[in-house]
Structure formats: C-alpha cells, structure tokens
C-alpha cells in the first residue's frame, strides 16, 4: 500500500510538473461549462438540477480521458523508464494500480473543480443534492472506467498518438453501444439476447441511469468491474510487451 502511494505521488507530481495538468483542467472546465450552458440549455430549462451538465460527461471524457491515459505506459516504454520502474522492488500489480490511481485522482480533481455548478443550482433553487452527489460519483466511476481502458491500451504501444486514437475509438464503442447508432446496426438480425448484452456494456446506459437519480448498485458495480477487468488486462499486457 505504501509503495502504491509512493508511485501515485510521483505520477501526480509529474502531471503538475508539465503544462498537461493545467491544460487538461482548464479545457475540461471550459468544455463542461460551455456544453451545459449553450448546448444543454442549463438556464432555459428552468429546473434546478445538473442533468444538462452531467449528460455531456461521457462525450467529454471520450475526448479528454484518452489524452490523460495515453502517456501512462506508452511513455514509460518509449523512454525505457519501464525497465527502471519494474526492476525496483515493486510488483506489477502495484505499478499498474499506482499509475491508474494517480490518473484517476487527477480526473477526480478536475471533476471536483466543477463545484461552482453545484453552488449555482443551490443558489438558484432547491435541487435534489442526493441525485447530484450520485451523479458526481457516477461520473467519477465512469472516468475510472475510461482511464482503465486507456491505461491498458497505452501499454500496447510506445506511441502516444496511437494510444490516444485507439483508446478514443474503443471508448467510443463502449459509449455508443447503448445508443441508437449501435442498436440500429444490430436490430433486425441479431438475437435480442445479443442486443441486451451490447446495451448492458454501454457506459452511457449505466451513467444515464445514475444521473436520472435511479440509484442502482448494479450501475456502480458495472463500472468497478470494467475498471478491474481492464487493469487486470493491463498487467498482462505490460508483462507481455515490456521487452519490446
């Protein structure tokens, strides 16, 4: 545990040592605000809730999280520091967890900095703060799932651009698998069980359920399972690819 903390701290330091952290946070906040106000009609709806704000998070993460995740392992492999890291007395699991947790904490910091939205709706009306809290937790869990996918893919390549593009593509599939685009492709020929399976893999479906205030533990379990699965894949991939 202590070792994981040391790795998390180093990773976080390296985020803030470069402009990456500030660029990411500023763009995340600017886009989250713009989308909520102008596309989501935050004010015109006349409702004191954060649904227009949260409903854009999957699409925001789709673009921004791959940028955060792409460097996790690709950079270590390109610069050769992976050899240094993995010959220190730490296990592969500790290394993977440490790097993932650092990026997750970082995305949590960016998410937490959206608190003025929460203040705004509380000043303007009486929102259901329980739903807002659940939405924040849901958004954080979803960010974790995107990051786990990105971390595993980042271990596949030394090239950060490839890591970015592939992560974005895979994340897109996970996001839209519950939307009309994916289901339209399947409907008419695929058995209902397949359609249900695809729908149940969708980040969007699970996240929207949380945001609507339908608090179901299964949605949280889904994201945690995705994180667990991809981090496990991550350790396997790092082990396989580290020598190349």
């Amino acid at each position: 545990m202590r070792t994981i903390c040391v790795i998390v701290r180093r990773e976080l330091q390296s985020y803030f040592a470069t402009p990456l952290a500030y660029v990411f946070i500023v763009i995340f906040l600017a886009l989250a605000g713009t989308l909520a106000f102008f596309v989501g009609n935050f004010f015109d709806r006349g409702q004191a809730d954060l649904q227009p704000f949260f409903s854009f998070h999957p699409w925001l993460y789709l673009v921004l999280i791959p940028a955060l995740a792409m460097r996790l392992w690709a950079e270590e492999r390109r610069s050769g520091t992976i050899e240094l890291l993995l010959t220190l007395p730490i296990s592969m699991t500790q290394a993977v967890l440490g790097k993932f947790l650092a990026s997750w904490i970082f995305s949590g910091i960016a998410l937490a900095l959206t608190f003025p939205f929460w203040i705004t709706v509380n000043v303007l009306g009486n929102p259901d703060n329980g739903v807002i809290l659940a939405s924040y937790i849901g958004s954080f869990l979803m960010a974790g799932a995107f990051l786990a996918v990105g971390s595993a893919i980042s271990a596949l390549t030394k090239n950060q651009v490839i890591a970015f593009v592939v992560t974005a593509a895979v994340s897109f599939l996970f996001t839209v698998s519950g939307s009309g685009i994916a289901l339209g492709l399947l409907k008419g020929w695929a058995p209902q069980s397949l359609i249900d399976a695809v729908t149940s893999m969708s980040f969007l479906t699970h996240f929207n359920a949380i945001v609507r205030g339908v608090i179901d533990l299964r949605d949280a379990v889904f994201f945690v399972s995705v994180i667990g699965l991809f981090l496990y894949a991550n350790t396997v991939i790092v082990d396989l690819k580290k020598a190349e």
């Binding site: 390296s14 610069s79 240094l84 010959t87 220190l88």
Partner: protein
C-alpha cells in the same frame, strides 16, 4: 564452466532467451562472487543487455535460471530486486523530475523515509558528483549527468550486487575516470557486473571478463588470461635505427618467431612488430640478435597482448 566460488552472489545457470525465432541469449552460465568485478563484453546486439535484464528480473528467461544472494529471480523477484542496484541500458530516468526528486522517489520505493531517505540521497549525490545540477530537470542535463543520475539511483541503497549496463557510455575521459574509481572503491564488498565494449575499461576495473557473441559465452577469464590468447601476447616491438635493412628477414628466421610486420618504415627508423610462436618469450632472442648484428635499438617493448585482438578473434569466429 568451472564454478570458482561456492558463495556466489550472482549465480547464472544455462540462461536462454528467445525473441520469436531469434535466440538472443543461448545457454549462458557464470557466477560472480563478492569482491569480483565482472566485465561483460561483446559486440552490440550480442545479448549482453538481454542477459542483464534476465538477471535483474525484468525479463523472464525462456530457459535456465538466475539467483541473487541465494534467492531465485523467478520465484522471489521482490527479494532479489532489493539486493540489486541496476543501471539499465541508456540510463533511463523520469525527464521532468530533478535529480533529488527522482532519487527521493527511488528511496521511498525502496522503503526509506524521512531522515534516512535524506541521508541516502545525499550520499548518492556526493558519490556521483551531482551537486551542481540539483535544481535542473533531468531532461535538461547532459548525457554524462543523466548517466550519473542513473548511477546514483543504482547505488542509493548500497546493494550487495550492482549490475551496470554501460556505466561510462557518453562520459568524457575525466568522468569515466571518476566512475571507474567509484567502481574500484566499491568492488571489495560487492559483486559487480558491468557491460561495456570499451576494452580499456576491462583493464581498468574488471577482475574477470566474459565475452559473449551471438548469445553464446565464448570466453571467460581474467583480463590477463584473455590477453594471453592474443597474437600480440609476448610480441616484441622494436624500433631500429639506420643500417638494419635486413633485420626483418633475419628476425623472421628466428626459431621462435612466427611473423614480423613493418609498422613504420621511414628513412631513419624502422619499427617492427615481431610476433612470437604460441606466445613464447622471444625478447631475449631478439635482443641477442640485435647485439650480434650491431643494430641501433632505439626502443624495445614486450607486448602483454591486446584484448582487442581476442575480442575480434572470439567474436568473429563464432
């Protein structure tokens, strides 16, 4: 290969590693004991780095095993990583960190905290002379300083086993000298493996050298033993003055002489390299002949053998 000492701190047995169809390391065995500095020689791509990666637990071997201080690398990776200080090829380190921040990370991962960590970091910085670059990100440092940051990281926990992949690559002659002094100073209480393709380095720091080519171990011995396999072993270099026109033929006719080569042949001086048959001592014969013929001997030197020769000989034949 004979096992020289029972209490080997590094014990490598029949190590092999395949990359797809390529056999990068092929059945390499050796041991290194306390107080030994083992020079790992070989052409680029011979398998030096791959062998080191397997000893340090970074790469799993395709066959064979390695043990550090009695612990098996495959079954006990964390234990052996605590015993090893490792400078990977190219001395990688995190470019956005300063040397002290980087060393603090390594110290913390190795379990040092607070004052103890500070003490370790200070000592490592002192030993590798990093004092002048403490505030600069590693990214901005010269190649020599980067290498020394890597060395500092490897020495930090004062490990019983040091594995250094090309520790002096990219250093200027003064820095090379410093690093070699450092290695020599640490040698008595550690087992050290350094890889290099600089043969002078083997002479300067190694108590034993092994040569690998195409993944196979092709030579193992002290630098002197290896030098004896050179055709220059016991060769005599003479510089003769005027009036020794027939010297080459006459020296070549001596019973123990294998060959004579002209090194330079200008108006005044004639420099000859006289090779001995099977490394026998021929200096007396050469000196006698010169005296009898009345040649003016300006210089006369016995060669102990050249590692370059041996290196080329053993690595090109396989």
């Amino acid at each position: 290969m004979a096992r020289l000492d029972a209490d080997a701190m590094v014990d490598v047995r029949h190590l092999s590693r395949n990359f797809g169809p390529i056999r990068a390391v092929d059945d390499v065995s050796f041991t290194v004991g306390r107080g030994q500095v083992l020079g790992f020689l070989g052409p680029n791509g011979a398998g030096k780095s791959t062998t080191m990666k397997m000893i340090t637990g970074f790469l799993a071997p395709s066959a064979g095993s390695a043990a550090i201080c009695g612990a098996d690398v495959a079954s006990d990776p964390i234990t052996i990583k605590r015993q090893i200080g490792y400078l990977p090829e190219g001395a990688p380190s995190y470019p956005d960190m300063t040397p002290p921040a980087f060393l603090r990370f390594v110290a913390n991962v190795r379990g040092y905290r607070g004052a103890q960590a500070r003490q370790r970091i200070e000592t490592a910085i002192e030993r590798t002379s990093l004092q002048s670059v403490l505030t600069q990100p590693i990214d901005t440092l010269s190649k020599g300083f980067k290498r020394r940051v890597g060395l500092a990281q490897a020495l930090l926990h004062d490990p019983p086993v040091l594995i250094l992949d090309e520790p002096t690559d990219g250093l200027d002659p003064n820095q090379k000298h410093e690093v070699r002094n450092l290695i020599n100073a640490m040698a008595p209480e550690k087992a050290i493996i350094i890889s290099t393709h600089l043969l002078e380095e083997v002479d300067a720091v190694c108590s034993r050298a092994i040569v690998i080519a195409n993944g196979k171990l092709v030579a193992d011995g002290t630098p002197d033993e290896l030098a004896q396999r050179s055709r220059h072993h016991n060769a005599v270099r003479v510089v003769l003055g005027k009036g020794a026109d027939t010297a080459a033929q006459e020296l070549g006719a001596l019973a123990q002489v294998a060959a004579v080569e002209h090194e330079t042949d200008d108006e005044d001086d004639k420099a000859l390299m006289i090779f001995a048959r099977e490394g026998r001592s021929i200096v007396a014969d050469v000196a006698d002949l010169a005296r009898v013929r009345g040649w003016e001997v300006k210089e006369l030197r016995v060669e102990r053998g050249r590692l370059d020769d041996v290196f080329r000989q053993v690595t090109s034949s396989s």
